[in-house]
């Protein structure tokens, strides 16, 4: 299982590499509240309660305080989805302290206010009890601040764009070999000290 307790995490992997599946399975076991911004409307475990833009933020907040895991289904219109993410993340800073994990799938799709608010989580979220988990297909497309503020990287099969991995000091060659060894759906974890894995969920 992936451990999301140690700080912000960036999860990287190609489509169908298992990154979203592994993330949601690991979150299921977490004792924290979870708000999973389900950009691709993936199927989620039954333990997640569904929510969308027709819910009030107060309902989300109440569920988070009760340590529920929320599967938020954003609007399929990307303009509205951007605004929903921006709004929800902004509201998380309404003064109350949380103990939660905010997960944004396909983080590279978000920009402007939505991205700005996620960056706010990356830089100040831990103080307010908000741990960020950013899921993406390509490290090249993930905002630099989100990457640099991550305490760990969980890496599935990728195109291994070595330049981008080097930028963040990620030992891509070591990881590439481990993933080859581990086979399909395996992943490695790098926390700036050492590489762990390959593992599978």
């Amino acid at each position: 299982m992936i451990d999301f307790q140690g700080g912000h995490t960036t999860v990287i992997g190609l489509t169908r590499s298992g990154k979203t599946y592994a993330t949601k399975k690991s979150l299921e076991k977490s004792g924290k509240a979870v708000l999973f911004f389900n950009t691709q409307h993936e199927d989620m475990p039954r333990s997640f309660v569904e929510a969308d833009g027709d819910n009030h933020y107060a309902q989300l907040n109440k569920a988070l305080k009760a340590k529920k895991k929320i599967n938020f289904l954003p609007d399929t219109d990307t303009t509205i989805a951007q605004k929903q993410l921006a709004y929800i993340v902004n509201k998380l800073y309404d003064g109350s302290k949380h103990d939660m994990i905010l997960v944004v799938d396909e983080i590279h799709l978000f920009e402007k206010e939505a991205l700005k608010n996620c960056i706010r989580v990356a830089t100040t979220g831990l103080r307010f009890g908000i741990t960020g988990v950013w899921i993406s297909q390509r490290p090249a497309n993930v905002d630099n601040t989100l990457m640099s503020q991550s305490n760990q990287f969980v890496i599935f099969e990728t195109n291994m764009e070595s330049n981008y991995f080097k930028t963040y000091g990620i030992p891509h060659e070591d990881i590439r070999q481990r993933l080859e060894q581990g086979g399909k759906y395996s992943y490695c974890t790098y926390n700036f000290k050492d590489v762990q894995g390959p593992d599978k969920v």
Binding site: D52, G53, D54, N55, H56, Y57, L60, D75, I80, K83, Q84, A86, Y87, I88
Partner: protein, 101 residues
């Protein structure tokens, strides 16, 4: 307010000039389907027979009288210029030409 209401409300505050041009109307679904007001108009006053001598009832028929009564309800006294133009055109086409009164 729901999350969607909140974010749409913010949009209207930022750019009220880009708000929807058509009003919500009285449709329960917020105006997606709106019955034109004129279709809800009551018919004109009086009996059908009272429209037999209407200037527009040039064939003095009851059927046309009924139509004229309905049109009166929708559009009023039917003394619009456009009515004259349309009816005059029809009479002209029928061959009354320069002799039309």
């Amino acid at each position: 307010m729901s999350i969607n209401d909140e974010i749409m409300g913010t949009d209207e505050q930022i750019a009220p000039e880009t708000a929807a041009a058509t009003p919500a109307g009285d449709a329960p679904n917020g105006g997606r389907f709106r019955i034109p007001e004129f279709l809800k108009a009551k018919t004109g006053e009086g009996s059908i027979e009272s429209y037999l001598d209407h200037p527009l009832n040039f064939v003095k028929s009851k059927a046309l009288a009924q139509i004229i009564r309905g049109l009166t309800g929708m559009f009023g006294a039917l003394n619009y210029a456009i009515i004259d133009i349309v009816m005059g055109s029809l009479n002209f086409v029928k061959g009354k030409g320069a002799n039309a009164q």
